[in-house]
Amino acid sequence: MTTFLALYRTLLGAVASRGRVAALGALGAAAVLVGLAVGLSDPVDADRAGVQFVNGLGLSVLVPVIALVFASSAFGDLNDDGTLVYLWLRPLPRWQLATAAFAASLTVTVPLTVLPLCIGAALTGAGGAVVAGAALAVALGVLAYVALFCALGLRVQRALPWGLAYILIWEGFVAQAGRGAGRLAIRAYTRSLLSQAADVRLRLGAESVPTAVIVPIAVAVAAVGYTTFRLGRHDVP
């Protein structure tokens, strides 16, 4: 446990740089302001407006982008500056390092996504069901994205453009084409949760609640497992 905590603290320090937290915190603050603006515009259907806000700004942009920036840096930065060797060349099981990177990225991503989006959703005037649905959808989305982008940061040298390509091209475009492709996008499950909780129909939001809960968790477990596997085969600079 001591070794895990030492890894976690070190990775948290590396991931949560002041610049990153400030920039992405500002993005969250902007989301709160957007929610407030929506609420002040006195929407006809407040629940629908709240769902559109969480879906359009939160699940499509804020959650994946913030998760990408933090999680891909967990191993990406250490690879780039040559410090990964100080964690890798130690007599510890690789899963500890993979899990510590995942936990450190979660620690900083969760408050910067869940809080502003839930506050923003509440400020739109939406009901409690929408806010609760947003909290669950965002939390599960963060879980899956963080695990995926941790693995991506270890696997490729320029994780940010690759991650953005996944978010914008795959999830934003290809996955919209049909349910088959949509099932390969995390957004389909987070939208489904929000849609079911708020009882508002959303495109790509047709998965059942158990599926929408289980799949992001399974993706997270599989991605952390893959990161563990890759760490054993990684070419450490």
Binding site: A6, T10, L89
Partner: protein
């Protein structure tokens, strides 16, 4: 009785990146003591060291650290300390936190005390709460040495550890590596600075063009180079006469008399020169004051081994 197994064993080690061969068919076995890994920049030294630590897999061949595969068996790193070549460290940590982290991850019984002792060994102040990001290059090098020593490993691998150090710190670390080698640790130090390597000790591995060019005591290596002419400096009151007689008796293959009277002699048969020079000088009535071999230092060995073929 079985001979003691080596601490580090590399067997037919090769590494290539696409069409570029970085290391080719390198084999050696090292026990306790200091071994200098020598080679020009880009010769493949760092690649060999990275393969020894398991940081990169060999394309071919095997590595063992105390009988374990460092790539597959994380327990191999329990007895392994590495000073990597790159300067990157956890910039926000202070020196004590950085070295204590290594101690904690190695499950050292008292990480705080071990970290303080390791920092004291490299003459860094454990109580200076200065972020290591503000450290000079020399301080970073010593910090990296401290984190490699903190768990008292049996095998210590140091990639250009003296870069950026001032002469006093260099001497201090050279003595430290010597003490560790004498205490039974297997210390492998890479360098491309020859006078530095000469002070580590006489055991060398020479890597040139990705291949192992030589292994062993560098003086013994030089002695084995029978095909290379040896150069000597001779001081005498009659350099021209002595030079002519050395050529005439075919002891020397070339001679040169310098303006200051120094006689430079090149010979393919150094033992004969040593044996016959004094009688020859006596025979012609020359007074011999000095006979000094000029190419038994590491630099000349290195020049012969890695120079253009």
């Amino acid at each position: 009785m079985q001979p003691p197994s080596p601490s580090v064993r590399a067997e037919r080690l090769s590494k290539w990146y696409g069409d570029v061969v970085a290391v080719s068919d390198v084999s050696f076995a090292l026990g306790p003591g200091v071994t200098a890994l020598l080679g020009p920049n880009g010769a493949g030294k760092s690649t060999v060291l990275r393969m020894l630590c398991g940081l990169t897999p060999p394309s071919q061949g095997t590595v063992e650290i105390l009988g374990r595969n460092p790539r597959r068996d994380v327990q191999a790193s329990r007895q392994l300390g590495l000073v990597p070549q790159q300067e990157g460290v956890f910039e926000q940590h202070d020196a004590l936190a950085f070295v204590r982290l290594a101690a904690v991850l190695h499950r050292v019984a008292d990480p705080e005390a071990a970290a303080r002792a390791a920092l004291a060994t490299v003459e860094l102040d454990a109580d200076a709460h200065q972020p290591v990001g503000t450290f000079s290059k020399g301080m970073r090098q010593r910090l990296k040495v401290a984190q490699a020593l903190v768990h008292d490993p049996h095998v210590l691998i140091l990639d250009e550890p003296l870069n950026g150090l001032d002469p006093r710190q260099r001497l201090h670390l050279i003595e430290l590596f010597g003490r560790l080698g004498a205490a039974g640790r297997c210390v492998i130090v890479s360098s491309h600075v020859l006078d530095e390597v000469e002070r580590f000790g006489s055991r060398i591995l020479v890597i040139a063009h990705g291949r192992l060019a030589a292994e062993g005591d560098f003086r013994a290596i030089r002695n084995l180079m029978d095909d290379r002419p040896r150069r000597f400096s001779v001081r005498t009151d009659r350099p021209s006469d002595l030079g002519a007689h050395l050529l005439g008796s075919r002891i020397a293959s070339a001679v040169e008399v310098r303006p200051d009277g120094q006689l430079m002699v090149e010979t393919g048969d150094a033992p004969r020169l040593r044996h016959e020079l004094a009688p020859l000088a006596a025979h012609i009535g020359a007074r011999l004051t000095e006979l000094e071999p000029l190419d038994e230092d590491l630099e000349s060995v290195f020049r012969y081994l890695v120079g253009p073929r």
